[in-house]
C-alpha cells in the first residue's frame, strides 16, 4: 500500500461529503415537517442550516480541487473526486430546495388554511427515500442500489405533473385559493427537483463505481411521457 496520505485524504473527503449529505437530508425533512405542522420555528432551523450547507459546499470543493491539483488522481480515484464534486453541488441544491419549501410554508402560514388536491407528504416521502438510497449507494459504493434510485424518479415526476394539473384547476376555478395553490405548486416543484438531484447523485455513484456515464439516457422517454400529460417541464435528471 502506497500513497497513504492521499488515500486518507480521499476518506476524509468522503466523510465530509456525508456530513454535508446529513445536513441536506435533515433540511428537507424539516421543511416538510414545517409544512405538515405549520411550525415557523422549524422553518428557522432550515434557514440556518442552509448557511452551514453552503459553507460545507465551498470547503468540499476546495478539498477536491486541492487533491486534483496536488495528487493527479487516476482511474477510480479520479472518478471518485469528480463524483464528489458533482454530488456536492447536488446536495447544496437539495439544501436550496429545502429553503425554498420553508419560504413557501412561511407564506402559506399567513394565509387561511385550505384543503388542496395534492399530497405533499406522500411526494416528500418518495423524494426523501430517493435521497436516502442514493446516499446509501454512495456509502456502500453500490451501483445496483444506485440504479434502483433511477427507476423511482418517474413516480415523483408523475406526482408533480398531477399536482400541476390539479392545482392550476384550483387557481382557475377557486381564485380565492390561488395563493395557497401556487405555494403548494412551488413546493411540489421543489420536491420534484430534490428527486432529480437524488437521481443525479445515483448516476454519479454509478460513474464512480463502474466508470459508466448513464446520464440523460432516459431523457427522450421522459420527454415523451411528459408530453402525454400536460404539466410544467421537469428538471433534467
Amino acid at each position: 500500500m502506497t500513497r497513504i496520505r492521499f488515500h486518507q485524504s480521499l476518506e476524509d473527503l468522503k466523510e465530509n461529503l456525508l456530513v454535508m449529505a446529513g445536513l441536506a437530508e435533515q433540511a428537507i425533512q424539516r421543511a416538510i415537517e414545517a409544512y405538515r405542522v405549520r411550525d415557523m420555528s422549524i422553518c428557522d432551523l432550515v434557514t440556518r442550516s442552509e448557511v452551514a450547507i453552503n459553507r460545507m459546499e465551498r470547503d468540499i470543493d476546495q478539498a477536491a480541487l486541492d487533491l486534483l491539483a496536488m495528487e493527479q488522481p487516476m482511474a477510480s480515484d479520479l472518478r471518485f473526486i469528480l463524483s464528489v464534486i458533482r454530488i456536492n453541488a447536488d446536495l447544496e441544491r437539495v439544501g436550496d430546495a429545502a429553503k425554498s419549501i420553508s419560504d413557501r410554508v412561511r407564506q402559506m402560514d399567513q394565509l387561511p388554511l385550505a384543503e388542496l388536491p395534492v399530497d405533499i407528504p406522500r411526494m416528500a416521502t418518495l423524494a426523501e427515500e430517493m435521497v436516502r438510497k442514493s446516499l446509501q449507494s454512495f456509502i456502500e459504493a453500490n451501483a445496483d442500489l444506485a440504479r434502483s434510485v433511477l427507476t423511482m424518479d418517474d413516480a415523483v415526476d408523475a406526482m408533480n405533473r398531477s399536482a400541476y394539473k390539479n392545482l392550476t384547476r384550483v387557481m382557475e376555478e377557486q381564485s380565492h385559493l390561488a395563493p395557497q395553490a401556487l405555494s403548494a405548486l412551488m413546493i411540489s416543484r421543489s420536491l420534484e427537483r430534490v428527486a432529480d438531484h437524488a437521481t443525479n447523485i445515483a448516476e454519479d455513484v454509478i460513474f464512480w463505481v463502474q466508470g459508466k456515464d448513464v446520464r440523460h439516457h432516459n431523457s427522450v422517454i421522459a420527454k415523451q411521457n411528459a408530453a402525454q400529460t400536460p404539466g410544467p417541464p421537469t428538471g433534467a435528471a
Binding site: 500500500m1 502506497t2 500513497r3 493527479q72 488522481p73 482511474a75 477510480s76 472518478r79 466508470g211
Partner: protein, 252 residues
C-alpha cells in the same frame, strides 16, 4: 513513415530468469505507445527486444516473433540492419562527449558509409529541426561539443542523432526522467510532433506523461503484459484490477 509492430508469444530470459512471458500486442504505426509498470516488470527488456539489443547480453535469450511492418526481426534479419530501422533514446542523454554537435548527429550516417558533405549537412539540419534543437545550436554546430549542451538539449541532440538515420520506429526508455520540467515539456511536445512520422514506443514511470503523449498504453507486471488499451481507458477506467491498483498508487 512509421510501421506497425506485431509482437507474438515473445519470451525473454536473463540466464534462468524468465523476464518476459508470452507477450502479445500490436503497436500501431505512427502513434505513441506508452509502457508503464513498476521497476523490474520487464518493460525496458521489452523495448530492448524491439531492436534486438536484449540479446547483446551473453546470458540473454529471446523467443517469439516481432514483426516490424512485413519483416520478422527475429527471423533471419541482421541485428545491425534492424537497429538502423529502430532508433533508441535512453534515460540519460549520451551524446559522444568529444564530438561536435554536427558530428554527433552525423555519426550514424558516417558509420553507414555516407560521406557526401551536402547530404550530411542537409540531414544534420533536418534532424536538428525535427528534434527542435536547430534554433538553439545552428551557430555552434562545429564549435561546441555535445557535452557542452544542457541536459535537455543533450537529450534532443540524442533524438536528432537517432532520427538522422531515418528510422521507422523510435524507442524511448524514460527519455525525460533525468530532465527538469521545462526540458520534459519540450521532449513531450517533440514526441507529439514526431509521432505522425514515426512509430514511438515510450517507457515511462511518469503516468501523467504517458497520459499526455500516448494514444495506447500497456501495463507490465512481473514480466507479463497485464493490460493494453487506449490510454484514455487505462487511466480513467482500466479493465484489470492490478492496473487500477498500480495507477492509483495502491501498490508499486
Amino acid at each position: 513513415m512509421g510501421v506497425s509492430i506485431e509482437v507474438t508469444n515473445l519470451n525473454a530470459w536473463y540466464g534462468t530468469n524468465h523476464t518476459l512471458q508470452e507477450i502479445n500486442l500490436n503497436i500501431p504505426a505512427n502513434h505513441a505507445t506508452a509502457l508503464i509498470g513498476p521497476s523490474g516488470c520487464g518493460k525496458s527488456t521489452f523495448v530492448r527486444c524491439l531492436n534486438r539489443m536484449h540479446e547483446t547480453n551473453p546470458i540473454a535469450r529471446v523467443t517469439g516473433s516481432v514483426k516490424m511492418g512485413e519483416i520478422d526481426i527475429y527471423a533471419g534479419a541482421k541485428p545491425v540492419s534492424i537497429r538502423r530501422r529502430v532508433g533508441m533514446v535512453f534515460q540519460r542523454p549520451n551524446p559522444f562527449p568529444t564530438m561536435s554537435i554536427y558530428d554527433n548527429v552525423a555519426s550514424g550516417l558516417k558509420l553507414n558509409g555516407y560521406s557526401n558533405r551536402r547530404v550530411l549537412d542537409e540531414t544534420v539540419e533536418q534532424s536538428l529541426k525535427k528534434s527542435a534543437l536547430w534554433d538553439e545550436v545552428k551557430d555552434d554546430l562545429r564549435k561546441k561539443s555535445g557535452a557542452s549542451l544542457s541536459g535537455g538539449q543533450q537529450q534532443r541532440l540524442c533524438i536528432a542523432r537517432a532520427l538522422a538515420v531515418d528510422p521507422e520506429v523510435l524507442l524511448m526508455d524514460e527519455p525525460a526522467s533525468a530532465l527538469d520540467p521545462v526540458s520534459t515539456s519540450k521532449i513531450e511536445d517533440l514526441i507529439f510532433e514526431l509521432k505522425s512520422q514515426y512509430t514511438i514506443v515510450i517507457v515511462t514511470h511518469n503516468m501523467q506523461q504517458a497520459a499526455r503523449v500516448a494514444e495506447k498504453t500497456g501495463f507490465f507486471l512481473n514480466g507479463r503484459l497485464v493490460e493494453f488499451d487506449s490510454t484514455h481507458k487505462i487511466f480513467t477506467n482500466p479493465s484489470d484490477k492490478r492496473t487500477e491498483d498500480y495507477i492509483t498508487g495502491r501498490f508499486g
